[in-house]
Symmetry: C2
Amino acid sequence: KIVFEDVYKRYKIGKVDVNALNGISLTINKGEFVCIAGPSGSGKTTLLNLIGCLDSSTTGNIYFDDYNITNAKEKVLEKIRKEKIGFIFQSFNLIETLNVFENIEYPSIGKKVNKKELYERIENFLKEIEITELKKRFPNELSGGQKQRVAIARAFVNQPQIILADEPTANLDSATANKVISLMKRINKEQNTSLIFSTHDYEIMNMADRIIRIHDGKVKGEEIKNG
Amino acid sequence: KIVFEDVYKRYKIGKVDVNALNGISLTINKGEFVCIAGPSGSGKTTLLNLIGCLDSSTTGNIYFDDYNITNAKEKVLEKIRKEKIGFIFQSFNLIETLNVFENIEYPSIGKKVNKKELYERIENFLKEIEITELKKRFPNELSGGQKQRVAIARAFVNQPQIILADEPTANLDSATANKVISLMKRINKEQNTSLIFSTHDYEIMNMADRIIRIHDGKVKGEEIKNG
Ligand SMILES: Nc1ncnc2c1ncn2[C@@H]1O[C@H](COP(=O)(O)OP(=O)(O)OP(=O)(O)O)[C@@H](O)[C@H]1O
Ligand SMILES: Nc1ncnc2c1ncn2[C@@H]1O[C@H](COP(=O)(O)OP(=O)(O)OP(=O)(O)O)[C@@H](O)[C@H]1O
Ligand SMILES: [Mg+2]
Ligand SMILES: [Mg+2]
């Protein structure tokens, strides 16, 4: 469960203050599929970065599973990121020196996992999102949408509590996007994984439980989809 | 005018050949607005890279304004790129050490242009796509969609003959995308600038004169929109 209490994220550019987040209060419950929608520059990536403990607020409080993480130490934040959250970034962030399989395996490095089960899980994801034949390739040998699907598989393979995805289908054609989103929705229901996505894609929004609309760093509205 | 005659682009990965382009023949006429549509991995970026003289075919011939550029020297290709083509890349390719204004100005560096007219043109683009207040920012101080719009303005400001755009609205919300595409369409008509876009966006496809559908590196169909 995620709670934001009047959160501001302010950047200083020269003498000007830019409020990327401008007094955000919200609650996201475990197992929910929430879409964050809004125009370019409205604060979606910033919001996801704060939920994901990748950045901190300027003011306001953030709670993760009832624990106040607003001023938590980096070690605490890192533990949450590694153990509880899977990320799909707007720019994919694949590691150029690792192949597809190794990129997907990477979040599990250092964890006590059953290797056989892990590799089976990876193979299943590769197959479901149709990138099995790409598994030995390196990121510079992939198309944009292929990289995006690798980033998607990597986010899920560690079975996190929460998936944070920043425009996860922006580079995918409609048929591929539908396959990917259906897979995600199924994981959401079977494993009670929370999905928090920013998106401009109406088809994703239609699949969500709830849409939170933001504009100029504020929540402007909310819509329950499957109540 | 662009002509492809049975063009193949083949990569070798280990012992395996991958045909990114698999026998493409096509003609694109001056002033046309053409969309290249197809699923992820179908060859769109590869095709755009060859049209844009950023890469070369494995086999087959490519003509630019009736000149065979298939085996042209790098100096010739560079001249075409600098003087005739504006690019909007899938990953934006902004220069991190230049601010927004400088990034947009950059393609004009070294050309004999009237500075006053150039700066006026830049200011007009900034205003039309609503990024005026961002002009002193650096790329790491921008959202994904803001970067995309900077890349768009940069492509147009030099008044090229052809704009090549690889999914130019992938990171934009619908309203912003419509503004941008309307601007592009207007330039297409007023200046007879050819627009060659890859896209998954049906609204862009609807605005094009023609859609070329590719799949597994082959042309699979074509649709005249505004005949
Ligand atoms: N540098 C490369 N080395 C090896 N294979 C490549 C390379 N670039 C592209 N490919 C392969 O060629 C095919 C076409 O790639 P391309 O980037 O043109 O696809 P695309 O249609 O742009 O896809 P997307 O919609 O995902 O961006 C893909 O299967 C891709 O994996
Ligand atoms: N590092 C930064 N420094 C300064 N300003 C920033 C920074 N990151 C974001 N901003 C600004 O904060 C605002 C919100 O940015 P954010 O990236 O969250 O938007 P977004 O909703 O994700 O947009 P998009 O849909 O274009 O990706 C924007 O105006 C942006 O320019
Ligand atoms: Mg963003
Ligand atoms: Mg591509």
